[in-house]
């Protein structure tokens, strides 16, 4: 089936003429029609636009002039990325009817490569969450078990790839929001180095942490998508002018002699024993493939979550100040003056988790508290970055679990702190600005996916991809598919 193919395989069929982009796009749209009323990964489906783009791609293939490996490939985007003329909500009531007048740079690069846009995907509101239960609209279900969350905040993006509702999707990762749902949904999820991909048109949550990255079914596909969206952008002054290598060039070189660090602090009491067993088995596979593993210590790991839950909300409180009912988005009626209008609009438009984080961030930055909270968190951030720098003097890659547990049931993590603990292995990577990937590393006895996390040096995505590819090729996890609808 066309919808089972990786991007590489699909591209080969397009080039040989065995299949067309219109056929693939129709096949994906048919699956969305059949399955998404249950899964609820999509917020907006752009059917006519997709078919028009597919027709254009087909014309290029017939003329023998395809744009490249992504031409005609159906993709979907987390609804935090601006798409010109297509509603973009951030999973929030405050932007429920917002239609951006421009495309995000990452979106432009995908569209310029000929990708076909199927639609926009559900997420925790303003990317704040780890389960997609905080979407203002509805939760997305995990394709592997419909009573469980897909993870978050990029839950729709992860679920769509796992359920084969798109060939690839883009999500964003600020505190694990690509890697954790990738682990929960059994897909590849890649967070690039901070500054590797332009944030222009990415609706901001935490400006020093946010990064856009792909969800795919294979590591090679992730390399392809990453290579398309990466690169400096004059519209984002935090994007870094470092050349983008061909991420597929070295992919199959193997990992003989690669030094992999295993951090003691990422194997903790209370984590799911099946996750620990699965990840240790994955590490054993890496050793069999020729890597040399050694223990490393990242001693400040236990402070990462606390530092993150000061820095990210602080930055969010500043970034979300723009939602004031003046220029776009929801405006509540009846305000007696401007400030009253702001306060009612934001009260009506923001959900509980967003309000909590805006309050926390505002408090941490307010007079008398700034240095004890935000200032201290920034100093701890330096210590976390130093831990990684010291480890990377001895190893090339760090291997660890992506999450302490597997996908949980809806409502199971209702207390904010319980929810935050999902991200303990993810946030230090964002704070240090390093690249990280989650790859499928098996399943629990109950059939829930387990994720292996690989962390690399800044701008060394190539080594991460090579390591992830070697592991993936030595296992059969990606052959297993969730049983959905007619697949059952």
């Amino acid at each position: 089936m066309l919808t089972d193919l990786t991007i590489s395989e699909l591209g080969a069929r397009f080039r040989s003429g065995e299949a067309t982009s219109t056929e693939a796009t129709r096949a994906y749209l048919a699956r969305v029609d059949a399955l998404d009323s249950e899964l609820r990964a999509f917020l907006t489906v752009t059917r006519e636009q997709a078919l028009a783009q597919a027709a254009d791609a087909d014309a290029r293939f017939r003329a023998g002039q395809p744009l490249g490996p992504l031409d005609g490939v159906p993709v979907a985007l987390k609804d935090v990325l601006c798409t010109r003329g297509v509603r973009t909500t951030c999973g929030s009531k405050i932007l429920e009817h917002f239609v951006p007048p421009y495309d995000a740079t990452a979106v432009t690069r995908l569209l310029d490569a000929g990708a076909v846009l199927l639609g926009k995907l559900n997420m925790d509101e303003f990317a704040m969450g780890s389960s997609t239960e905080h979407s203002a609209f509805f939760p997305t279900r995990n394709p592997w078990d419909l009573d469980r969350v897909p993870g978050g905040s990029s839950g729709g993006a992860a679920a769509a790839v796992a359920a084969r509702l798109a060939a690839a999707t883009l999500g964003t990762d600020t505190g694990g929001s690509i890697r954790q749902p990738a682990a929960f949904c059994g897909t590849v999820g890649f967070k690039p180095t901070y500054g590797r991909v332009s944030r222009y048109g990415l609706i901001a949550f935490a400006s020093s942490l946010d990064q856009i990255g792909p969800f795919t079914r294979s590591v090679e596909d992730a390399a392809l998508v990453l290579g398309t969206i990466a690169g400096v952008d004059p519209m984002d002054s935090t994007s870094v002018d470092v050349p983008v290598p061909d991420y597929r060039a070295d992919l199959a070189r193997g990992i003989e002699g690669l030094r992999i660090g295993i951090p003691a602090e990422y194997f903790i009491d209370g984590m799911d024993p099946e996750v620990e067993t699965g990840v240790r088995a994955a590490i054993a596979t890496l050793e069999r493939l020729g890597a040399r593993t050694e223990p490393v210590s990242l001693p400040h790991t236990e402070y990462g979550l606390a530092a993150y839950y000061l820095i990210a909300p602080a930055e969010a409180s500043s970034n979300l100040a723009r939602y004031d009912g003046v220029k776009y988005g929801l405006r509540s009626p009846g305000g007696k003056d401007l400030i009253d209008m702001y306060s009612r609009t934001r009260a009506a438009g923001f959900g509980d988790e967003v309000k909590r984080r805006v309050m926390l961030g505002t408090y941490a930055l307010s007079a008398g508290y700034y240095d004890a909270y935000y200032g201290q968190a920034q100093r701890v951030r330096t210590l976390l970055a130093r831990d990684f720098a010291q480890a990377f003097e001895r190893v090339d890659v760090i291997a660890a679990p992506t999450t302490p547990g597997v996908a949980f049931k809806f409502g199971e993590r209702a207390e904010p702190l319980q929810m935050y603990l999902n991200d303990i292995f993810a946030v230090p990577v964002n704070l240090a600005g390093l690249p990280g990937v989650s790859v499928p590393a098996g399943f629990t006895a109950g059939g829930l996916p387990i994720g292996l996390q690989l962390i690399g040096r800044a701008f060394d995505e190539a080594t991460l991809l090579r390591t992830a590819h070697a592991y993936e090729q030595a296992t059969e996890w990606r052959a297993r598919k969730p049983a959905l609808g007619a697949d059952r």
Binding site: Y102, G195, Y309, V326, R381
Partner: protein
């Protein structure tokens, strides 16, 4: 030990321009208190002499030439406005205190 008061919650809500209903205020106080208690573990760390990191990748001012370029068209920028009036965004009266 964090112990955030209702008055502090109200003060922060004003700073954040967030209207909270009475029942929301106590719940917010309780939830923030719990989160801050967890975050308090950070204060135990000795960070004397450690420089703060505000930006993971060391970069300094990224500039471009101060040359005007076309902006997005005004009609498109007004298209999402809740209350456009001509070329403007209309808002409630701003009251001087």
């Amino acid at each position: 030990m964090a112990e955030i008061t209702l008055a502090q919650v109200e003060h922060v809500a004003r700073l954040a321009r967030l209207e909270l209903r009475p029942e929301e205020k106590e719940r917010m106080r309780r939830e923030l208190d719990g989160i801050l208690a967890y975050i308090d573990k950070l204060r135990a760390l000795d960070t004397t002499g450690v420089e703060p990191t505000s930006h993971a990748v060391p970069m300094t001012n990224v500039m471009r030439d101060d040359a005007p370029r076309p902006s997005l068209p005004r009609e498109e920028m007004l298209a999402n406005a809740p209350e456009p009036r001509g070329d403007f965004f209309r808002v409630p009266k701003i009251i001087e205190e």
